[in-house]
C-alpha cells in the first residue's frame, strides 16, 4: 500500500515538475502551442499567460493532490492513487488550454501575422542522406530479451508446478505451462517490436519543422534531436525489458515479496525520467548566430486541434515534433496512422480477451 502511495507520488511529482518547466523548454516560436512571429516571441501577453499558467498548475495540482488524499483517507480505495496522476494530467491540460486560448485571442486581435513574409525551409539532405538508425542501441533490449528466453528455458524444469503470475503485482496463481511461464517474454517481444517500430517511424517517417529564419541551424539541431530522441527511446525499451526479466525471475523462482512491483516499475520510471530529462535539455534550437533570412514560419495553428493534437490529412508524415512538450506526436490526420492505431487497439483487445477471458 505504501508502495502504491510512493509510486503515485513520484509520478505526480514528475508530471507537476514537467508541467511547470515546459514553458521554459518549449520553442519560443510556439508558446503554448500557438505559432507567433519572431517579433512577438517575448510579447507581454505571452509573459502574462506563462505566469498565469504556472500559478494555475501549482494551485490546481495541489488541490487535485489534496482531493485525492482526502478521498483515499475516507474510502481507502487503492485505485484512487493511479487515478490521481490522470487527474493531474487533466488539470495540466486545462491550464495549457487556457494559456493557448489567451495567446491565440491576442494574436488574432493584434494581427501579429500581418506584414510578415511567410516561408518554408526544407533540408533535402534529411531525405537523400537520412540520419542513421542507432542499431547499436537496440542491442541491449535484444540481449535482455534473449537472456530472458534462455534463462526461462534453463529454469523451466525446476520451476514450481504452480506459478504466481505477476501482472505488475503478483495477483494470481496458475498451473505451470509454456504460456504462463513465458507470458512476460511475450510482453517483452511485443513491446520491443512496438517501440522499435515507433523509433524507425520517427527516423524515416517524421517531418522536420525547420525554421525558415535560421534554416541551417534548425536543420542541424533537428538531425541531432532525432538521433538523441531515438537513442533514449531504445534505452527506455532496454529498461522495460529489464523490468520484465526481473519480474519473470521472481515468478520462476517462486519468490513472493511485497516489493515485487518495484522490479517492474523502478526500471521503467528511471527510463522515463532519463528520456524526459535528456530531451528536455536539448528541446530548444540553439542560437548559433546564423543571419536571419527575413522569412517567418507560416501560420499553421489550424492543424493543431486543441493546441495539442496534430491533424493534417495533407501531411504524409507519421510523426511531427511536439509543440508543447518533448519528443514527437502522431499525425492523427494521416490514414496510415489511424490504421496502425486501429490495428494496435485490436491487437491489445485480443490479448486482453485471451488472457482475462480464458
Amino acid at each position: 500500500m505504501t508502495l502504491a502511495i510512493a509510486l503515485s507520488s513520484a509520478l505526480s511529482t514528475l508530471v507537476l515538475v514537467l508541467a511547470l518547466v515546459l514553458p521554459s523548454i518549449a520553442s519560443p516560436a510556439v508558446p503554448f502551442g500557438v505559432r507567433v512571429p519572431a517579433r512577438h516571441e517575448g510579447d507581454p501577453v505571452v509573459t502574462r499567460q506563462t505566469r498565469l499558467y504556472r500559478w494555475r498548475v501549482l494551485v490546481g495540482g495541489i488541490a487535485a493532490a489534496g482531493l485525492v488524499v482526502v478521498l483515499y483517507a475516507v474510502t481507502g480505495v487503492t485505485l484512487l492513487l493511479p487515478l490521481s496522476v490522470l487527474l493531474l494530467v487533466g488539470v495540466w491540460y486545462g491550464c495549457f488550454f487556457l494559456a493557448n486560448h489567451g495567446i491565440r485571442a491576442a494574436k488574432a486581435a493584434g494581427g501579429w501575422f500581418e506584414g510578415v513574409r511567410p516561408g518554408v525551409a526544407v533540408d533535402t539532405g534529411l531525405r537523400t542522406d537520412p540520419p542513421r538508425f542507432p542499431w547499436l542501441w537496440l542491442a541491449p533490449a535484444l540481449i535482455i530479451t534473449l537472456a530472458t528466453v534462455v534463462i526461462g528455458v534453463l529454469l523451466y524444469p525446476s520451476m514450481p508446478d504452480i506459478l504466481v503470475v505477476h501482472r505488475g503485482i503478483p495477483d494470481r496463481t496458475a498451473v505451470k505451462s509454456v504460456a504462463t511461464a513465458f507470458s512476460l517474454v511475450f510482453v517483452q517481444l511485443g513491446v520491443t517490436a512496438l517501440l522499435t517500430g515507433i523509433a524507425a517511424a520517427i527516423v524515416f517517417g517524421s517531418r522536420p519543422d525547420i525554421d525558415p529564419a535560421h534554416p541551417a541551424t534548425s536543420a542541424r539541431w533537428h538531425r541531432r534531436y532525432l538521433t538523441l530522441g531515438v537513442t533514449v527511446l531504445l534505452g527506455l525499451l532496454a529498461l522495460i525489458d529489464l523490468g520484465m526479466l526481473g519480474s519473470s525471475l521472481l515468478m520462476w523462482t517462486g519468490t513472493v515479496t511485497s516489493w515485487a512491483p518495484l522490479v517492474v516499475v523502478v526500471p521503467i520510471l528511471v527510463g522515463v525520467v532519463i528520456a524526459v530529462v535528456v530531451l528536455a535539455r536539448n528541446n530548444r534550437e540553439p542560437d548559433e548566430g546564423e543571419p536571419d533570412t527575413g522569412l517567418t514560419h507560416r501560420e499553421d495553428d489550424k492543424y493543431w486541434r486543441g493546441g495539442m493534437f496534430y491533424v493534417n490529412s495533407d501531411d504524409h508524415a507519421l510523426f511531427v515534433a511536439r509543440r508543447f512538450g518533448v519528443g514527437w506526436t502522431l499525425n492523427f490526420g494521416n490514414p496510415r496512422v489511424l490504421m496502425l492505431l486501429a490495428g494496435l487497439v485490436a491487437l491489445l483487445a485480443l490479448v486482453i480477451t485471451l488472457r482475462f477471458g480464458g
Binding site: R117, P118, G119, V120, A121, V122, D123, T124, G125, L126, R127, T128, R207, P208, I210, P212, P215, A216, A219, T293, L295, R298, D314, D315, H316, A317
Partner: protein, 130 residues
C-alpha cells in the same frame, strides 16, 4: 542542401525551387551525381502540390542540370552550355544589367557585385581558357 521558399514572393514557387538548385550547383553544395529527393517527398516536406516540384524538376531536366529516372530518382548532372544557351544567357544578363544601369547603380558597383558573386561560386567555376 537547404531550400528556403518565400511564400509571399511574386516569383512562383517552382521558379524559386529551380533557382535555389541552380545556385546550389554553382556554389558546390550540389555536384554532378548528387541526388535530390523525389518529387512526392520534396512536395510533402514543403507542404506544396507535387506538380509544383515536378515543374521545377522538369525545367532543370530541360536545362540539362537534372536527370530524372524512375530508379535513381533525381540526380544532378552538368551539361556544358552550348552556343544557344550562351546567347540566351547573354540576353538575360543584358536585361539584368540594364535594370541596374536604368536605376542609376554605378558601373563600378555593378562590376564589384558581379565579381563577388562569381567568386562565391569559385570552387565549381571552370578555369578560363588561355
Amino acid at each position: 542542401m537547404i531550400i528556403n521558399v518565400d511564400l509571399g514572393s511574386e516569383v512562383p514557387i517552382y521558379q524559386q525551387l529551380r533557382d535555389r538548385i541552380v545556385e546550389a550547383i554553382a556554389g558546390g553544395v550540389l555536384s554532378e551525381g548528387s541526388s535530390l529527393p523525389s518529387t512526392r517527398v520534396l512536395a510533402a516536406d514543403f507542404g506544396i502540390n507535387f506538380h509544383t516540384v515536378n515543374k521545377a524538376y522538369d525545367l532543370l531536366r530541360r536545362e540539362g542540370l537534372l536527370q530524372l529516372n524512375r530508379k535513381a530518382g533525381a540526380v544532378v548532372t552538368v551539361t556544358p552550355g552550348d552556343p544557344a544557351f550562351r546567347a540566351d544567357w547573354t540576353a538575360r544578363a543584358r536585361t539584368l544589367l540594364a535594370e541596374a544601369v536604368a536605376r542609376g547603380v554605378p558601373a563600378g558597383e555593378v562590376l564589384t557585385t558581379c565579381r563577388s558573386v562569381l567568386e562565391s561560386f569559385a570552387t565549381t567555376q571552370p578555369q578560363d581558357m588561355p
